[in-house]
C-alpha cells in the first residue's frame, strides 16, 4: 500500500519549501546592514587610529595643558550666546511667518539657506571688513556670525516643529480664551515647540563647538582653533583633546535628545529628530 504523501493529499510541495526563501523584499534589509557596516567602518577606523595615536598619556595630560580650559569655556559661552540670539530671532520670525505670511515661507527658506551657499571664509572676511574695531576685538562678534551660520539649521528645525502643530488654530483658541500675544507664545506655542527647539539647540551647539574657519580668521582661540594650534606643539595631546571634545559633544547631544523625547512623548509629541518632528497623535473618534 502506497503511503499517502503530502502531494497525494493535494498539497503542493516545492523542492526547497523547508528553506526560507530570500525574496526581493529581504534584499533591502541586507543592503541596509552592508551600508551600515561600511559607514561604521568609515567612522570608527579614524577614531580608533586617533585613540591609538593619542595613547593614554595624551588623555592624562590634556586637562592640564595651558589653553585647554579657557578655549573650551569660550566655545561653550559662544554656543550659549549663539543659541540665545538664534532663538530670540528665529522663533518669533518663524511663528509670525507661519501665522501671518505663510506665502513668504518659501522665500524665507531660500534666504536662510544662503549661509550654506556662501562659504564661511567669505562671510567672515566681509564681516571683518565692515565691522567697527571695537566689535572686531570682542569675542561676541563670533557669536553673531555663528547666528548667521546656524540660521539654516535653526530655521529648518523650528519650521518643521511648527508644521507639526496647528499653530493657527492653537493661537486663535488661546486668543478667544483671553490670552494676549505673549501669553499665547509662552504658554501655548513654545511648550509645543519644545521638540523643535531642542533639535535646533542640538544643531547650534554641534555647529559652534566644531567651527574652525571663522574663529581662526577672527583670531579667536576657540576650542577647535586651540586644537589645531596645539597640534604643532604636541600632536598626541591635540588628538586626545579632539576625541574628548567629540565625546563631550556626543554626550551632551544625547542628553538633550533623551530628555526632550521623554518630555515630548508625555504630551503625545514625537521623537526628537533634527529636521522632522512627528505630529501630535490622537486615538481616533
Amino acid at each position: 500500500m502506497a503511503t499517502l504523501t503530502p502531494a497525494a493529499a493535494g498539497q503542493v510541495i516545492s523542492p526547497d519549501n523547508s528553506k526560507k526563501r530570500r525574496g526581493p523584499q529581504d534584499r533591502p534589509a541586507i543592503w541596509r546592514w552592508v551600508i551600515l557596516l561600511i559607514a561604521g567602518v568609515y567612522f570608527v577606523v579614524p577614531l580608533y587610529a586617533a585613540l591609538r595615536f593619542a595613547g593614554l598619556s595624551g588623555f592624562k595630560d590634556v586637562f592640564t595643558t595651558p589653553g585647554f580650559g579657557s578655549s573650551l569655556w569660550l566655545s561653550i559661552r559662544l554656543a550659549a550666546v549663539t543659541w540665545i540670539v538664534s532663538m530670540l530671532l528665529m522663533i518669533p520670525t518663524t511663528v509670525y511667518v507661519h501665522l501671518r505670511m505663510p506665502g513668504l515661507r518659501r522665500l524665507l527658506e531660500g534666504v536662510t539657506i544662503l549661509p550654506i551657499v556662501i562659504p564661511p571664509v567669505v562671510l567672515i572676511i566681509g564681516v571683518l571688513q565692515v565691522m567697527p574695531l571695537a566689535l572686531r576685538a570682542s569675542v561676541w562678534l563670533l557669536a553673531l556670525e555663528y547666528v548667521i551660520l546656524a540660521m539654516p539649521f535653526a530655521y529648518r528645525a523650528l519650521d518643521a516643529g511648527l508644521r507639526a502643530i496647528d499653530v493657527k488654530t492653537l493661537t486663535e483658541a488661546a486668543g478667544s480664551l483671553g490670552a494676549g500675544w505673549l501669553s499665547t507664545m509662552w504658554r501655548v506655542i513654545l511648550p509645543n515647540m519644545r521638540t523643535a527647539v531642542t533639535a535646533a539647540t542640538i544643531l547650534i551647539v554641534a555647529l559652534v563647538l566644531g567651527e574652525f574657519t571663522m574663529a581662526s580668521l577672527d583670531l579667536k582661540q576657540t576650542f577647535p582653533v586651540w586644537i589645531v594650534l596645539f597640534d604643532q606643539e604636541n600632536a598626541q595631546i591635540s588628538v586626545a583633546a579632539s576625541i574628548f571634545a567629540l565625546f563631550v559633544t556626543w554626550v551632551f547631544l544625547m542628553l538633550i535628545t533623551v530628555i526632550a523625547t521623554r518630555q515630548s512623548r508625555r504630551t503625545g509629541g514625537g521623537e526628537v529628530t533634527l529636521f522632522t518632528v512627528a505630529p501630535q497623535q490622537t486615538i481616533g473618534n
Binding site: A174, T282, I283, G284
Partner: protein, 382 residues
C-alpha cells in the same frame, strides 16, 4: 418673522430674532449689521445682516465658500469686516481684539493645547482672567463633569478620542462664561455616532446655560436638529433665516428649497399667477398671494416653470402603462426612497413606507401623482 433678504444684493435686510427666543433671557443679544468682506475679487460677505436674540442658537448653513465661516470669524475677532458692525449687547465690538471679546469658540480641528491635560485646558481661560488656582481647578472640574469627562481630567489631548477632545473644547469655551458661544463646524471631524451624541449634548448644554450661540455647519441635518433658527447662506448673503420647520416647508428661494432637504423639480405650466398644472393636476402656487408666503421667484406669471415638490409630497403606485418606470430604490429604514424616471427624462424621488416599496422593484411601471396641495414654483431650469 422670516425675512426674504438681500435678494438683489443692493439692500441688506435684517433678519430679526423671534419675539421670544427659546433660550434664557440672561443671554446676550448679538447683531450683525451689513457685514461685507472681500478677499481680492471674491466677496466672502456681501452685506450680511442678522439679529440674534439672547440665548438663541442660530445655525449658519450653506455650501463651501458661502461666507458662513468668515461671518463667524468676524464675530470672533479673527477677521475684520471691510464694512459693517458687530453689536454685542448693543455695543459695536468691531475694534475690540478677540482676546477681549469674551466669546468662547469651538473649532473644527481639535484645538486643545497638547501640552496641557484636560483640566488645564478647561482652566486656561480662567487662568488668563487671573482666577485663583483653587477656584480655577474647581470650576474646570465642574465643567468637565458637565460634559461627562471627570475621569479624563488628567489626560492629555493625545490620550483622548476626537469626541472627547471636542467635549473638552466645549467645556473650555464655556468655562469663561462667554457672552457668545461660537461653534465652527465642531462635529465635522467626528464619526456619525459620536456626532449625533455630541450635537445632542451641545444643544442640551446651550439651552441649560442660555448662552447665545452661533453655529456654523454645512450639514443641514445638524443645523435643522440643533438650531432655534437656521440662516441659509449663499455667495456671502443670507438667503433666508427661519426656524427649521418653516425653512423646510416654506423656503424663500429656490436655492433654499433645494439646499435644505431633498427636492424634486417637475415640469409644469403656470396657467396664471396662482395656478400651476403639473402631472396633469392643477395646484395652487405657494406665494403669489396663494398661500401667504412671499413669491419664491419674481416675474413668474405664466408659461413653463419647474414645480418643486419634496419626495414625501408625491405618490407612487404600480400601474400598467403609468407615467414612469422605477429606476432605483434606496432603503432608509422606515421609508424607502424610490427613484422614478418619468417621460421626458425627468427623474423624481418619492418616499414610500419600506414595506410598500418592496412591491415596486426597479423596472416596474408606476403612476406618479401629486395631491392637489399648494406647491412651490421656480423658473424653468435649462
Amino acid at each position: 418673522m422670516t425675512a426674504k433678504a438681500n435678494e438683489t444684493g443692493a439692500t441688506a435686510g435684517v433678519h430679526a430674532p423671534p419675539a421670544a427666543a427659546s433660550g434664557s433671557p440672561e443671554g446676550t443679544p448679538v447683531s450683525l449689521r451689513n457685514l461685507t468682506r472681500a478677499f481680492g475679487a471674491t466677496k466672502a460677505l456681501d452685506g450680511m445682516s442678522l439679529d440674534i436674540a439672547p440665548g438663541e442658537l442660530v445655525a449658519l448653513l450653506g455650501p463651501s465658500g458661502c461666507g458662513k465661516t468668515t461671518a463667524l470669524r468676524i464675530v470672533a475677532g479673527f477677521e475684520y469686516a471691510d464694512s459693517g458692525e458687530v453689536l454685542v449687547n448693543g455695543k459695536d465690538v468691531s475694534g475690540v481684539p478677540a482676546a477681549r471679546r469674551d466669546m468662547g469658540m469651538v473649532f473644527q480641528s481639535y484645538s486643545l493645547f497638547p501640552n496641557m491635560n484636560a483640566l488645564d485646558n478647561v482652566g486656561f481661560g480662567l487662568r488668563m482672567r487671573k482666577t485663583a488656582a483653587a477656584q480655577r481647578r474647581r470650576k474646570a472640574a465642574e465643567l468637565l463633569d458637565m460634559v461627562g469627562l471627570s475621569a479624563q481630567a488628567g489626560q492629555y489631548p493625545h490620550q483622548l478620542s476626537g469626541g472627547q477632545q471636542q467635549r473638552v473644547a466645549l467645556a473650555r469655551a464655556l468655562a469663561i462664561e462667554p457672552h457668545v458661544l461660537l461653534l465652527d463646524e465642531p462635529l465635522s471631524a467626528l464619526d456619525a455616532k459620536v456626532r449625533l451624541q455630541l450635537r445632542e449634548q451641545i444643544r442640551t448644554l446651550q439651552q441649560r446655560l442660555g448662552t447665545t450661540t452661533i453655529f456654523v455647519t454645512h450639514d443641514q441635518e445638524e443645523a435643522l436638529s440643533m438650531a432655534d433658527r437656521v440662516g441659509v447662506m449663499r455667495d456671502g448673503r443670507l438667503e433666508q433665516v427661519a426656524d427649521p420647520s418653516e425653512l423646510y416647508s416654506r423656503p424663500a428661494t429656490a436655492f433654499v428649497a433645494e439646499f435644505v432637504g431633498t427636492m424634486n423639480r417637475l415640469p409644469g405650466e403656470l396657467a396664471g399667477p396662482g395656478t400651476v398644472t403639473v402631472l396633469g393636476v392643477s395646484c395652487a402656487v405657494i406665494g403669489n398671494g396663494g398661500a401667504g408666503s412671499p413669491a419664491i421667484e419674481d416675474g413668474l406669471t405664466s408659461g413653463p416653470v419647474d414645480v418643486l415638490v419634496r419626495p414625501e409630497g408625491l405618490t407612487v403606485a404600480a400601474a400598467e402603462g403609468g407615467n414612469g418606470i422605477v429606476s432605483g430604490r434606496t432603503f432608509l429604514g422606515a421609508i424607502t426612497r424610490v427613484a422614478v424616471l418619468l417621460s421626458g427624462d425627468t427623474e423624481v424621488r418619492v418616499d414610500l413606507a419600506s414595506a410598500a416599496a418592496l412591491a415596486i422593484p426597479p423596472g416596474t411601471s408606476v403612476q406618479v401623482g401629486l395631491p392637489p396641495t399648494p406647491v412651490l414654483v421656480a423658473r424653468r431650469q435649462q
